[in-house]
Every structure is written in structure tokens, then in C-alpha cells.
């Protein structure tokens, strides 16, 4: 009791004469005559209904521990115990502070214990109260899972009555927040127990059961795969969900059913070209984005739709022409509207609260819509003020909006045309660079990935970005713990080095440092390795650059190449490495690094006879560069290589079935003939 009193020291000062009457209610709970106690509890029940002040007073005065005590006492009559649970349920209906006080008084274990009683009325009262406590955001969800016997017991209570069904499914729907929770519920037969409730005569039960499935199936392959095979009254579950999406059903039901099908589809349990997705789920979600829906519904609708069609270009195409979705989304940016600001404070507040959510949802959906199709991207960028909106979204205070905006930008940056036009016109690189300075990893991943595209050679933004000191930033990304950031950093550098000036190349090598470069060449992530090799290859292009870099870093580079060619790597990695070698062979002075390295020459020979044509081609290219006629010392090189048996191999390769390889070998042979 003391704990509760101490919980709210502030409220004590608020207490006034009301306390006297409240005190009277509490005192009666301690009466010696059980009949008087019962009457006291009933009177208390009537006093607290709808009266938040009274509820707070009673909590402060310590009613909760006493009520819990009475509720748990086996000597209490069932009627008294039930009334106690009802009063506690009523107290829980008050403010969040009430819930906190109740939880602190250990109401949850007490009520869960009460569920073991056989009396249905009492169980229902306990469940009602538990429901109210658990759906509050202040209650730790974990409390449902602390005692492992609770979930199976709740499952068994599902058959007792419509009320137990409603309360229990509502508790599950709110308390299933992690994959672990999903697994616990799944393992205790949640699907088999809850599926029949989808056709319950009670609207509330149907709705809560549906919500359970949406939280259970979310990003859960196991659940989703099981759901497709479930029959409810002889009907497939997906068809039950489709019926729940009919336009005359409550919006909440339509939306939740669409979520269930979306999650099942994303888990691979339903094909993306299934009619229930193409003709039902997708149109339903598009409807949820319309102006007629509530702001919350529009947010959820857009987010779910974005998630649904993310991996499927056909769904993206359909959505892009359905109900003018692209322009419908533009409306998401018009909150708070200028009208609401003047006329209606309440509405302004409401709009403000949802404005961020709306914007991020719209960005997400645009990102998803534009992830594959060039025409859709064009449509998006042509939407009113779209690029300006993205640009301002990149610097919004809400991290969610920034992330979504950069995702959208990234999706659009896959378009060559947009990079050349709207991206440059709106100088999107500026806010993007700013975003990269100081952002959480998830934003950085997206932003750096976008930057990769902006640094492509044809992008007009490349020059100004280079001038803004991006190299240091990218080099620091390559040192990140996150593989995604390392890839993006090195990828951007690779793009930047493509056909770049000598100055830029030198700057990259300097800023990155050979040590880091070699560390990246041994990176556990193949993507990082590939992009690093790509960077090397781009650095080692055009003769003067090759010679310059090889003269300063030749030894290390040759070592790295040897290591990779000797190591266990994929064909692609080895091909890329042989291409680097071919570039080195193209240098004037750099050639000698290979010619003097017999071990390396043996390796090239080996790859010329490899079973993989790509590797043969790259190795032949390398030799071809070494024996090229017009260069100084070509005769010596030709002789040496002839002695090493390369001519025989080239001769053999002129008979190769692959036309490219055949041509390449013939060209090389001609060098000897000339």
C-alpha cells in the first residue's frame, strides 16, 4: 500500500474534500462483515464509473492492494472476488498513470492467477481488466510471457465464451511484438485456436481475431506458410480474408485483412500474381490511401501497400495506374492544411500529429512504386513539387521522414534520366551530403547508396559533389562496422574513380591509404571485395595513371593480386582481379612488374587454360597487352613469353568455341606475326 502512496506524491496535494468520501469507500473494504465489504465494493464500482478523479483518489488512498487482496483470498465469496475484478477493470480504464499504479501493485500476476478459477463470470471480469491493462502502451508486454503456463491457459480459455474470445485475442494482438512472441503463440496453437473465431457471430471477436493474424504473420514465414493451408469452415483462410476486405465491411477490418494477405504474400505463401493480391488486396490498399479515409488509415494503407509491392514490378505498375495513386499521394504533403490552421485548433493539432507520419508513408510508397519502372519514376518526379518535397524531407527533424525521403530519392536515383535532369536541377546532392555528415546507420546506408548513383560518370552532380569533400567522407564509411556502409563507401569511390582525372585518383588513393585498401581486399563481405577490385581497376586505367600508381604502390598491388588469385574466391572475383592485371599489363613501366614475376606469369598461363571462358578471356587479354607490338621492348616480352609456352596456348585458343576468346587469341597471335 505504501508503494502506491509513494507512487504519486504530487497528487496528494491535489486531494481536497473529495478525499473524505473516497476514504470512506476504502475504509469499507476493511469492514469485518464480509457482507458490508461486498456492498462497499459494489458502491465503489458505481462511484468510479466514468469518474477519473475518483479513480485517482482511490488509487492514492490504497484501494488497489486491498482489492487485490480480496480478489485473491480464497475465503472471499466468488461474488466479492468478481466485483473486485470489475472495480479494478474500471480503475484501469482511467489514465495511463492509473495503469502504471495497477501494474506496480502486481495486478497482472494476481489476475492471471484468477484465471485458474472455474467460474466463468469471474474469469471474464479478470480478463476484461487484463485486457485493459495490456492494451495500454505503458504496460510492459513481456509480463504476458514471464510465466510459461499463461499462454497455454489463455488458449484453453478461448472456447469458454465470446467475451473470453474477445479479450484474449485482443491481448494477443497487442502483446505480439517480436518474432519470439510470434513463435511462442504459434507453438501454443494460436492459429488453430483463433482461426475459427474469424467467422464468429460477434463483430468484435472477428475483428480481434483478424488483428491477431496480422501481428502473427508479420515478417514470419513459418506462420504465413501455415496460414495458407488453414481452412475455416471448409473455406481457405485467404478467401476469408478476401471477404473481410469487401467494401461494405468496416474500414478497420478491410485494412487489417489486407495486411494479413500482404504479410502472407511477402513471406512467399501467396504468389504476387494471385488474384487475391492483384484484384483484391492491392486495390483495397489503394483505397485506404484515398482522401476519404482517416489520416491514420491512410498512413497504414500506404505503408502496407509499399511493403506489398516492393519486390514486384508488375504490382508496382498496376498500383501506379490505379485510382491515380501517384497524384493521390501528393495530398499526403498537405498537412496541416492552411485552412485548418486558422479555423480549427483541434484539427490543426490532429493534422500536426499525423503530418510526419503521412509524409514518411508517402515517401515510402513512392520509393516502392519507383523502384523498378522508369515510366513510374518519371510520373513521380513530375508530380507537383515532388523534388522540392524530397529535398525538404531530407532535412526534416523527424528521422522517420528523413529516412523515407532518402529511400524515395534512392529509388528515383536508379533512373539515368532523372539523374541527368531533375536531380541536377534541384541540387539534391546538397541536402544529401548534409544528411551524410551526421546520421544514424540506417539513414547513412540509404544516403550513401543514393550517393553512389549520383557519382556515376554521366551524372551532372558528380562534379559539385567531388568539390564538396566527399572523398574523406566515403573513406570513413569504408571503415564502418556495417558491411552495407562499407560496400556503399567503396562503391561510391569506385564510381567516382571511373574515368576520373589523375588528381581525383591520387586523392582517392591518398585519402583511403593503401593499408585500408588492402584491408578491404580481405574483407569478409564479397560485395566489398568486388567493389574494391572495381575501384582498383578504375584507378588503373589510362597508361600514365597506371604507371604512376604502380610506381608508388606496385609492390602491394601485386601482392594483393597474387593473394586473391591464390585464394578461394568466386569466378567473378578472380575475373575482376585478372582484369586488374590486364590493366597493369597495359602500362608502360608497370608491365615490367608482371614480366619480372614468373610466378605471376605462371598464374596467367593457368587461367588461360581454365575451364571458365571468362577467366580465359581476361588472362588472354593480359597476355595480349604484354606482347603488344607498338610498345618499347615488345620483342623481348614476346620472346620470353614464347619461351614460356604462351604461343602454344594462344594457338590452341584460336580454335576455341567461344568466338570472343577465339578473336582475342587471334589478335594476340598477330602480334607475333607482325
Amino acid at each position: 500500500m505504501m508503494a502506491c502512496l509513494l507512487e504519486a506524491p504530487l497528487r496528494i496535494s491535489v486531494l481536497s474534500e473529495v478525499t473524505a468520501t473516497s476514504r470512506h469507500y476504502v475504509d469499507r473494504l476493511f469492514d469485518a462483515d464480509p457482507q458490508n465489504v461486498l456492498q462497499g465494493v459494489i458502491d465503489m464500482k458505481n462511484a468510479v464509473i466514468g469518474n477519473n478523479k475518483q479513480k485517482a483518489n482511490l488509487i492514492v488512498l490504497g484501494a488497489v492492494p486491498r482489492l487485490l487482496y480480496l480478489l485473491q483470498q480464497s475465503s472471499s465469496s466468488l461474488e466479492l472476488r468478481t466485483e473486485c475484478a470489475v472495480v479494478l477493470g474500471s480503475l484501469a480504464m482511467g489514465t495511463e498513470n492509473n495503469i502504471k499504479s495497477l501494474v506496480d501493485c502486481h495486478i497482472i500476476p494476481a489476475l492471471l492467477q484468477g484465471l485458474l478459477c472455474s467460474d466463468l463470470i469471474f474469469i471474464e471480469a479478470c480478463l476484461r481488466c487484463l485486457r485493459t491493462v495490456f492494451i495500454s502502451p505503458v504496460t510492459p508486454v513481456q509480463l504476458l510471457y514471464t510465466d510459461p503456463t499463461v499462454i497455454p491457459h489463455l488458449m484453453s480459455l478461448l472456447s469458454r465464451s465470446r467475451h473470453t474470445q474477445e479479450y484474449i485475442t485482443q491481448i494477443f494482438a497487442h502483446c505480439c511484438k517480436t518474432p519470439e512472441h510470434q513463435t511462442v503463440l504459434f507453438n501454443h496453437g494460436a492459429i488453430q485456436n483463433i482461426a475459427p473465431l474469424l467467422i464468429s457471430p460477434s463483430d468484435k471477436v472477428r475483428m480481434q481475431a483478424l488483428k491477431c493474424f496480422s501481428v502473427l504473420a508479420y515478417e514470419n514465414t513459418q506462420v504465413s506458410m501455415t496460414l495458407v493451408n488453414v481452412l475455416v469452415d471448409g473455406e481457405q483462410l485467404s478467401q476469408v480474408f478476401v471477404r473481410m476486405m469487401q467494401r461494405d465491411k468496416p474500414i478497420e477490418m478491410q485494412l487489417t485483412a489486407a495486411k494479413c494477405l500482404t504479410y502472407m504474400c511477402r513471406a512467399g505463401a501467396i504468389r504476387t500474381d494471385d488474384n487475391c493480391i492483384v484484384l483484391k488486396t492491392l486495390p483495397c490498399l489503394v483505397r485506404m490511401c484515398s482522401k476519404e479515409r482517416l489520416l491514420e488509415e491512410r498512413v497504414e494503407g500506404a505503408e502496407t501497400l509499399a511493403y506489398l509491392m516492393e519486390p514486384d514490378v508488375e504490382l508496382q505498375r498496376i498500383a501506379s495506374v490505379t485510382d491515380h495513386l501517384v497524384s493521390m499521394l501528393a495530398d499526403y504533403f498537405k498537412y496541416p492544411s492552411s485552412v485548418s490552421a486558422i479555423t480549427d485548433i483541434k484539427r490543426l493539432d490532429h493534422d500536426l500529429k499525423h503530418a510526419h507520419e503521412l509524409r514518411q508513408a508517402a515517401f515510402k510508397l513512392y520509393a516502392s512504386l519507383g523502384s523498378n519502372d522508369e515510366d513510374i519514376r518519371k510520373k513521380i518526379t513530375e508530380t507537383e513539387n515532388m523534388m522540392d518535397r524530397i529535398v525538404s524531407g531530407l532535412s526534416e527533424s523527424s528521422i522517420k521522414v528523413r529516412l523515407a525521403a532518402v529511400r524515395c530519392l534512392h529509388s528515383l536515383s536508379r533512373s539515368v534520366q532523372q539523374l541527368r535532369t531533375s536531380f541536377h536541377d534541384h541540387a539534391v546532392w546538397k541536402p544529401l551530403m548534409k544528411l551524410l555528415q551526421n546520421a544514424p546507420d540506417e539513414v547513412l546506408v540509404m544516403a550513401s547508396s543514393t550517393l553512389c548513383n549520383l557519382l556515376l560518370e554521366f551524372s551532372p552532380s558528380k562534379e559539385p559533389i567531388l568539390d564538396s569533400g566527399v572523398i574523406e567522407l566515403l573513406c570513413s564509411l569504408t571503415q564502418s562496422d556495417s558491411p552495407a556502409l562499407r560496400v556503399n563507401g567503396i562503391w561510391a569511390l569506385m564510381n567516382m574513380a571511373f574515368q576520373a582525372d589523375q588528381k581525383v585518383k591520387v586523392e582517392i588513393v591518398r585519402a583511403l591509404g593503401t593499408e585500408q585498401l588492402f584491408r578491404l581486399l580481405s574483407d569478409p563481405d564479397t560485395n566489398v571485395l568486388m567493389k574494391t577490385l572495381g575501384l582498383l581497376r578504375n584507378l588503373l586505367s589510362t597508361r600514365p595513371h597506371i604507371d604512376q600508381i604502380m610506381s608508388s604502390h606496385g609492390k602491394q598491388i601485386m601482392q594483393a593480386v597474387t593473394l586473391i588469385l591464390e585464394g578461394e574466391h568466386s569466378i567473378e572475383v578472380k575475373e575482376q582481379t585478372l582484369c586488374i592485371l590486364a590493366n597493369i599489363a597495359d602500362g608502360n613501366t608497370a608491365k615490367e612488374l608482371i614480366m619480372t614475376n614468373d610466378d605471376m606469369l605462371q598464374k596467367i598461363k593457368y587461367y588461360m587454360g581454365h575451364s571458365n571462358v571468362k577467366l580465359q578471356l581476361a588472362a588472354t587479354f593480359c597476355i595480349s597487352n604484354l606482347i603488344w607490338n607498338e610498345e618499347d621492348g615488345s620483342q623481348e616480352r614476346q620472346d620470353k613469353l614464347k619461351d614460356m609456352g604462351f604461343v602454344d596456348i594462344l594457338h590452341k585458343l584460336t580454335q576455341a568455341s567461344d568466338p570472343n576468346l577465339c578473336d582475342r587469341a587471334k589478335t594476340a597471335m598477330q602480334q607475333y606475326l607482325a
Binding site: 461494405d248 483484391k280 486495390p283 498496376i318 495506374v321 490505379t322 485510382d323 491515380h324 493521390m328
Partner: protein
Amino acid sequence: MQCNICSVLSKMAELGAGSLLTGDPAFNYQEHELNERLKRLYPAVNEEETPLPRSWSPKDKYSYIGLSQNNLRVHYKGHGKNHKDAASVRATHPIPAACGIYYFEVKIVSKGRDGYMGIGLSAQGVNMNRLPGWDKHSYGYHGDDGHSFCSSGTGQPYGPTFTTGDVIGCCVNLINNTCFYTKNGHTLSFCPCLSFQPNLYPTVGLQTPGEIVDANFGQQPFVFDIEDYMSEWRAKIHSMIARFPIGERLGDWQAVLQNMVSSYLVHHGYCATAMTFARATETMIQEDQTSIKNRQRIQKLVLAGRVGEAIDATQQLYPGLLEHDPNLLFMLKCRQFVEMVNGTDSEVRCFSARSPKSQDSYPGSPNLSPRHGATNAHLHNTGADSPTCSNGVTPTNKNKSHNKYTGVSSASSSPSSSPSSVNYSESNSTDSTKSQPHSATSNQETSDSEMEIEAEHYSNGVTESSTRIMNGTYKHQEILQADDNSVDDSCSSRQLCGGNQAATERMIQFGRELQALSEQLCRQYGKNATHKKMLQDAFSLLAYSDPWNCPVGQQLDPMQREAICSALNSAILESQNLPKQPPLMLALGQATECVQLMAKVRSGSCSFARVDNFLH
């Protein structure tokens, strides 16, 4: 309660349409599918007044258009050099407003040379040498550029282009006057056209050689789920009605409703129920209890076929009433004659030698009570054509409805409704002791409270002249009484006047009196065709050896008593300065009529605001 006129008419319209068909069974099947689908989609449409589009019109098209496959396939047969070679075709009929929401689809079989196809709507008289949308009162969605044309030569960017294999749909929402197109089952948002003309026809236009399109006016399932879209609007309109604000008048509202119920009970003579209701709701009943009971008694007599006694009772209780309404009197007497033939009227019954037990049993009208949804388990449905007629306010409609009613009612006479097969056990007529030598003794109050066994009906027509329109559902009620006599009645008593010689003589004498009355009325008021017909029909019964199975035998059906009973009840009420029909039925009739009027003034919401949706 169904708005049966509509269904009857549409049924007849269908029959008419069906008879025009060729013998191709596949086609007939498709036609059947079409009828079923159209009926389901547009239940409020009266196809006799406003037929639905079912195919392209071979008359209303440009010469470059060719039609085939029952006028559903359209192909281009012009030169297709430029836009001057464009050609369109309209459907056979415009879209009726009572559809509420109308939808059709067109499948692009071939995009031909350039795919210049337009799908949309146009009004009668719009130039057919054009694509839909280019001219005033014409709207179209074009395949080559995906633009929407709204009565203008320049289109607006609207949707994707469409080509061979695509299915394009056009949906007209006559509730909010919008239109949208669909492509392969996906809605393409509202078309930018702001206002629509009434009476638009589904239209397609083609412009280059090789272009072929197939229409689906409901012959096949639609690709787009139009029924789902309709369900949304139905729900919208229903909630609009349910949430109709009554504001401050909440108290008045309740009083009105109570009065509706109370007056309905009083009208039909549910005396005890009415009194209980009045007590519970603390409302007043205009008519005094004796008067209600008197009316109830007279109604029971008529429904039991004891018309003679009913006339006596009326004359005794309401002197002057029948004298002032000779038409009604004549109708009653005609009915009495029919009942004599039937052997049910007391003037012939007293001759029949029967077992004492049978004295209490009369072949009577089926017990009728207003249908209260599915709760009344005694009712057995005779089929979709159970006659329910609405209150007609416009006289032109009324005669028509009346005719339909009789026509159908005869068709619905199932064996169970033959005159003597159903017995009305007169166990609750203590109040009629004076004139009833053989009435049983039972408590009036008890019987009163059992509404289901009370014989009653209601009329909701305008009772001028002889046109009487019934409003109510007349169902045959099976009385599940194991009464030997009823079996006996139904088998052996089907003889003229119960097979009694004296009774037959009395009947013939009565016939002469009736003839004399007719002549007298004729002298007094001039010729009356209705009377003549009535008399003729009644006398015709005697021309057949088995009157129950003769062309005019339907008159012997106890159901026929209901109209006259209702007329008599209304006349009595009117004579007491009380409404001749209960306000509830008046309101119902008015609402039904109002919805029909909405269809006429092209208010599309009427299709989802049907009265029967609100009757349970």
C-alpha cells in the same frame, strides 16, 4: 415484404425478351445468365419502363461499324485514313437511373492497325461518325493515348493506354454523378468529366481497320468486382438513412412511432394487444374498445365465408352504412352468393346435415396475419410471386398494378389454397353470440392476444369505385391442426352448396334477389360494368359441374374474401370518421412510391434505398 410489382413486371419483361430468342441453347444459357445478373445488379430497375442495355444497336451506328455475335461484337469496316473515318455504335437502350450504379465492359479483341478505340458514353443523337468523347454529351476513354475525352476534341491525361487483350470497363455512378473506367479489373480513378447528361448510352468508337471489340453488358461475369463497389454504396446510403438526423424531435419521433404501431393494431382489430400496448406506452386509442371488437367480429365473419351474417351484423351495428354504399353492399352480396356455392355461408350451412362436431368448423379463409419476418413459422411461402401490392398514389399506375395482382394471384393458387382445403377453426368468437347459434365458447381476451390465429388483412389502396389495391403479403397458411373434419371437408364437401338440395334452392333464390338488386342499382345509378362482370363471374360458377375446377373457380378461393373484408373494414372506419387505412401502411406505401418517383426523376440513390431493405 417485397416490392412485388417490380419483380412481377421484370419477370414478365424477361419472359417477353426470352420469347424473342433463337433456339440456340448456348445463347439461351447466356441470356439466362444475363437476366440473372442484371436482376441481381439492378433490382430497382423496372425493365418494362426502362429496359437495360443488352447489346449494341444495329440501327444506332455509323455505317463503318459492323456487328456480329448477337450484336455484341463490334468491328471496323471503314477506310480508317484519318479521324474523319471514325465510327461509333450505341447500345440499344440508355442507362436507367434506377440502376444507381451501372457498369459494362469491353474486351479489346484486336487493336487493328492503330488501336484508336474509344470506350464511353453518349447521348442519343450525338454524331456517330466520331469517337465517344469528342462531341457535346459524349464521353470516352481512348486506347491510343490513355486520355479521357469529356465532350471535347482534346483529351486530358487520364490512364494507361490499352490494347489487344485488355478489358476496359466503364462505371457510371448515378448517385453522385461520376464516372470511372477500369482496366483489367483495376479502377482508374474518377474521370475528370464534371457533369453527366441523363439518358446516356454505352458507346464504343473505332477508327482503323482490324479493330474488334466485344461488349459484356452482363452476359459474363465482369473482370472488375462491380458488386463489391455497389456494396460500398449500398452501405453508404443505408448508413445515411440510419443516421438521418432527427435533432430535437426525438420525443415527437417516439410518439409518432407509438401511434403508428397502436393505430395499426387498432385498425386490424387486435383489441387486447392494442390495449396492452396503449397501457405500456401510455398512449390513447381513438376508437373505443367495443367498436374495435365489433369490427373484428365482422371481419372474422367475412373471412370465414359467412358473408350473410357479416352483412346482418354490419347493418345492425352500423345502420345506414351499407344503404349509403350500394357498391359495397353489392360486392358483399356477390361474395355471399359465391360463399353459398362454396357451402360456407350460413344461409346454406343451416341446411347441411353434419355431425355435431363439425358445427364448429367452417371452411374458411386462411388465417392471415401481417408477415413479421421469418418469425412467423406458420407461413409457407408460395414463391416469389406472392402478391404484395403497394399503395398507389398515382391513379394510372394503380389499375395496372391491380391487374397484375390478380393475374399473379391466380397463378399462385397452389393446391393448398383450394377453397375447402383449409379450415378456419372458429374458436374465438364469443363476442358474436347473438347471431351465432353454434359458436364455441372461448375467452375473447385470450384469443385476441394470440395474433397469429386471428384472421385479418389490410388494404392500402384507394377505395374509390371498385379498384381496390391490397397491400400486404398474402401467404397461404398451413394450419397444422389435425382436424378430421377439415380433411372431411376438403374431400367430401366439395359439392354445390354442400350438396344439400334445400340449400341449392336457397342459393338460386338468392341469385334471383342479387339479379334484382343489380337491376335496381342499374336503374338508380346507371350501368356499372364492374358489377355486371362480378355478377356474371359469380353466376358462371353454376355452369360447371365442379365449380372448384373451372375457369372461374378461383372465386371460390378463400383468399378472395380478403379484398372485400378489407373494403368493409375501411368503410366502417370511414363511417366512424376514422382513417380507412392505418398510417403505418400509408407511410409504407408513400415511401415505396417515393422511391419509384426518385427513379423517374433520375435520383440514382433510389436503387439502394429500397423499402424492402428496411422491412424485416
